[in-house]
């Protein structure tokens, strides 16, 4: 029996988000709620599936390094129709390109930013389920902050993110420099 991978465990999950962002953000920028069969052009939204804006929100939170706890009341939360493992698989959409690797990078960021006792996990003292829960929490909280950020901007200027370059500009504002590494550059071999 092949050993289970933490990546796969995580990828089979589906992050939660606050319902209040459905109308104000998700439906405005995604074709969320309208089915996956019609072409994006026909529907006129910037992004396709709802998870796409979630990804954007996530990265905003990530780069700002700001998290925001999800609302307690689970009734006020929702999930998307597709678990993470399918995110970015876009073959049939005109004018778009699939981006399957992005999931892996998200995972990478979550590992870096979640305080899991991996040694305990490795020893079996923590369940993999618990570890993935923690990763999901990080993911949800970064995204939640990202949504909050977007909502804030839209309150100031309702047209803000409807400008062609608005989303890109948010990401251009972050520092893109590659830091000097303090540790050895080569990772140790597995031997």
């Amino acid at each position: 029996m092949a050993a289970e991978k933490i990546y796969d465990l995580w990828a089979s999950r589906n992050p939660q988000w606050e319902k209040r962002y459905e109308d104000s953000i998700i439906k405005n920028f995604c074709d969320y709620g309208r089915g996956a069969t019609s072409l994006r052009e026909d529907r006129g939204k910037v992004f396709g599936g709802g998870y796409e804006i979630f990804i954007v929100a996530f990265f905003i939170g990530l780069y700002f390094n700001q998290k925001r706890q999800l609302i307690e009341d689970t009734q006020k939360r929702k999930t998307f129709g597709q678990p993470i493992q399918y995110w970015g698989n876009l073959d049939s959409v005109k004018g778009r390109k699939a981006y399957p690797k992005l999931r892996e990078y998200i995972f990478t960021a979550l590992i870096a930013r979640t305080d899991i006792d991996f040694i305990a996990l490795e020893k079996g003292e923590m369940t993999s389920r618990k570890a993935v829960d923690m990763l999901m929490q990080t993911m949800e909280e970064y995204a939640n902050w990202g949504f909050h950020f977007m909502e804030d901007k839209l309150t100031d200027d309702p047209n803000y993110f409807f400008r062609e370059t608005a989303f890109l500009e948010v990401f251009l504002a972050f520092d893109a420099s590659v830091p000097e590494s303090t540790d050895e550059d080569e990772p140790e071999s597995l031997d």
Binding site: R96, Y99, A109, E122, K123
Partner: protein, 724 residues
């Protein structure tokens, strides 16, 4: 007909009453554009209009209109007095009354003529008098508004009209038609008789059949000939047009090429200047622009974890090795009485021991071992030891497995993460760190392309404007200018082909016609028995000859007329051009029963595009000639009134030109802006008095009086002043 005086009252810019006395020779009316030159003409046209009552608000002088109080009435009128078999007068007028601030009512339209009969002055309907003295067809060749009207042959019926009107013989056309019809009818009648006549009916029938066939052939040949000739005509004019416009066409084509090039460029730039800013965040991984730092965090963390894991693992491995070694070092030794070395544990075997225990006897030495005895106990212990040993061995195995295989780290998530880290490092990490540059390069690229696009759009617009201007200036259609050299060639070839076809057809036609003549001859030579039939034949022959005579006479008439026109025209041309080059006018009949005025140089070559002045004098000569011919035929003279034909008289000295016209025995009125000097800087207009003083004719000046406002018609008033 000699016009003595023209009176214009309240007609458009001619406020109040104005009059011009015309001389018997040339009267020059000088004015600038907008001073009232064309209005003078239009006043005369209005007077001469016999098509019906014509009183428009727009005919009334705005200035006069604006002065009227409510209830006040005034009159618009145009009047000429003239000599034409006695003194006569024609006037057209209507009254206008202001009935309210914004309303003018017109009525009392009058169009009346006067003539003197004996001592009395009689009045007559104006249109009647006009048609008697100055009928429409004559007027057509007397009034010329603008140079475009000077070419009298520019429409297809012109020649016929001219011939009918001026050649002195009318209605030839009709008679030729009639006689041709008679010829056919009589031919049919004669043939019918022949076919019925007993003696010759077979031959007659046969010959008639042949006649029919050849007549049909001739008909279709003539039709095709006509078509081909018309085509040749069309090709010729197209070629002429193309050649004339060669230069313009080339320019047009060049612009068109450039426009196409620019449009292609524009399409490319348009594609390059678009960018999917938002979806590229995902599709092109642009969202990972600031990710390198996070990769570093991840790598550091995972490296550390991996190291820690291995450290702990090593520690544990060492500890276990120690334990296992200790265990293996220990060996269990069995104790016996008299310290003898006991049998190994596996002797005797289980079955033997059990038998001995059951039989309660040691079967080795024979001593009984009853239950409870020392010997019995010893045997049981030995069996138990045997069993315990087996069990211990078994446990030892499993215990060893368990001890050996229970790892410190049952999971390999850290390994998974480590593999992931290794995968990330190297190329992948490098790629991601390039994303920032990729994005900025792309944005820069797009910005530049957008700028380029704007530039191209600007250039495109400029070119398109240039193209439109070219079209407008040349007055030609885009379609025509689009014709390239290959089209020119195409027309040329088509024309040549048509011409050779025409040649062929004409040869065939001649052949067929003589064949027909032969058949007809044979027919007429048939000697029918019946004398009646002979009569029919003779009648037909007579009609044939009569028809030919009429037809020839008609052609002769036209030719005579054209010849006469040509001769007279050349006389005038010579006079008008005096010592300058003038060439020779030829008037050629064209295919569609019209004529063309052409100019040839002395050595016989045609001058294709005579310059402005030459062209104008060419046409004017023809007009003078026509007028002269009219005089001869009608024994009546008619004035020629030209509206500004001299705008292209660049190369002529005005005094020479006008003096020549003055000497021509013909009443002429020329309305022009010649001899008016306009100061470019101040816009002031003054008469060229020096030249005017050299003139022999009478001269009038018409001008708008100052001050006036071009936008307010009620300030406009033309004033007529005699200068000479």
């Amino acid at each position: 007909m000699i016009i003595k005086e023209i009176k214009i009252n309240n007609f458009r810019s001619y406020y109040g009453s104005n009059h011009l006395s015309l001389s018997k020779g040339l009267t020059l009316v000088i004015g600038d554009n907008g001073d009232g030159k064309t209005t003078l003409f239009e006043a005369l046209e209005w007077l001469f209009d016999t098509t019906g009552e014509n009183r428009k608000d727009s005919h009334i002088s705005e200035k006069r209109k604006s002065e009227l109080e409510i209830g006040e009435i005034d009159e618009v009128s145009v009047n000429i007095t003239f000599e034409h078999d006695g003194e006569k007068e024609i006037e057209k007028s209507f009254t206008f009354e202001r009935i309210s601030e914004d309303n003018i009512r017109t009525r009392d339209y009058k169009f009346v003529g006067y003539f003197i009969d004996g001592a009395e002055r009689h009045s007559i309907a104006g249109d009647k008098l006009l048609n008697m003295c100055f009928e429409p067809v004559i007027r057509k060749y007397c009034l010329f508004k603008g140079e475009n009207e000077l070419n009298v042959f520019d429409n297809d019926t012109a020649l016929k009209t001219l011939v009918d009107t001026f050649s002195g013989i009318r209605d030839f056309e009709k008679l030729v038609e009639l006689t041709t019809e008679f010829e056919h009818k009589s031919a049919n009648a004669a043939n019918r008789e022949l076919q019925n006549d007993k003696k010759v009916s077979n031959q007659a029938k046969e010959l008639n059949a042949q006649l029919n066939d050849v007549t049909n052939d001739i008909q279709s040949i003539k039709t095709e000939l006509n078509q081909k000739k018309i085509s040749i005509n069309e090709f010729s004019s197209k070629l002429e047009l193309l050649e004339k416009n060669q230069e313009t066409s080339e320019r047009y084509q060049a612009i068109k090429e450039r426009i196409k090039g620019l449009k292609d460029k524009r399409a490319k730039l348009a594609a390059w200047s678009s960018c999917e800013y938002s979806t590229n965040l995902l599709d092109e991984y642009w969202i990972l622009r600031s990710f390198p730092a996070i990769i570093k965090e991840f790598s550091a963390k995972v490296s550390a974890l991996s190291k820690e894991k291995r450290r702990l693992d090593k520690q544990e491995t060492e500890r276990r090795a120690k334990e296992a070694g200790e265990r293996e070092a220990i060996s269990k030794i069995q104790k016996l009485a008299n310290d003898a070395v006991p049998l190994p544990w596996n002797l005797p075997d289980e079955a033997t021991m059990k038998e001995m225990i059951d039989d309660e006897i040691c079967k080795v030495c024979g001593r009984p071992a009853p239950k409870g005895s020392e010997a019995y106990e010893f045997m049981c212990n030995k069996l138990n030891e045997y069993l315990a040993h087996i069990a211990a061995e078994a446990n030892k195995n499993t215990a060893t497995k368990e001890d050996d295989e229970k790892p410190l780290f049952p999971n390999s998530f850290i390994n998974e993460l480590h593999s992931r880290q290794i995968k990330l490092s190297g190329d992948t990490e490098q790629e991601i760190s390039k994303i920032a540059t990729t994005i900025s390069d792309r944005l820069e690229f797009v910005t530049k392309r957008k700028a380029d696009l704007a530039e191209v759009e600007k250039q495109l617009q400029e070119l398109e404007t240039e193209q439109n201007d070219l079209l407008m200036q040349s007055g030609l259609s885009a379609e025509l200018l689009d014709k390239s050299i290959s089209d020119l060639r195409g027309f040329f070839d088509a024309k040549s082909r048509a011409e050779s076809r025409v040649s062929e057809l004409e040869t065939t036609l001649k052949f067929k016609e003589s064949a027909r003549a032969e058949i007809q001859e044979k027919l007429s030579q048939l000697e029918p028995t019946s004398s009646m039939t002979q009569v029919y034949q003779r009648v037909h022959t007579a009609f044939e000859r009569i028809t030919k005579a009429f037809s020839n006479a008609k052609e002769q008439n036209i030719n005579n007329f054209l010849q006469m026109l040509e001769t007279e025209s050349n006389k005038y041309l010579q006079k008008l051009n005096k010592n300058d080059f003038y060439g020779i006018i030829r008037i050629r009949k064209t295919i569609n029963n019209s004529a063309r005025i052409e100019l040839y140089s002395d050595n016989g070559t045609r001058i294709e595009n005579p310059n402005g002045a030459l062209k104008t004098t060419m046409y004017m000569s023809v007009l003078f000639a026509i007028s002269q011919i009219t005089t001869l035929k009608r024994e009546q003279d008619y004035p020629l009134i030209f509206d500004a034909p001299t705008s292209s008289f660049g190369g002529f000295k005005e005094d020479t030109f006008y003096n020549v016209i003055d000497t021509i025995d013909k009443q002429c009125v020329i309305v022009t802006k010649d001899l008016l000097n306009i100061d470019k800087a101040t816009g002031q207009k003054t008469l060229d008095s020096d030249t005017i003083n050299k003139l022999s004719c009478s001269v009038y000046r018409i001008e708008k009086i100052e001050p006036f406002n071009d936008k307010d018609l009620s300030t406009i008033q033309t004033v007529v002043k005699q200068v000479r």
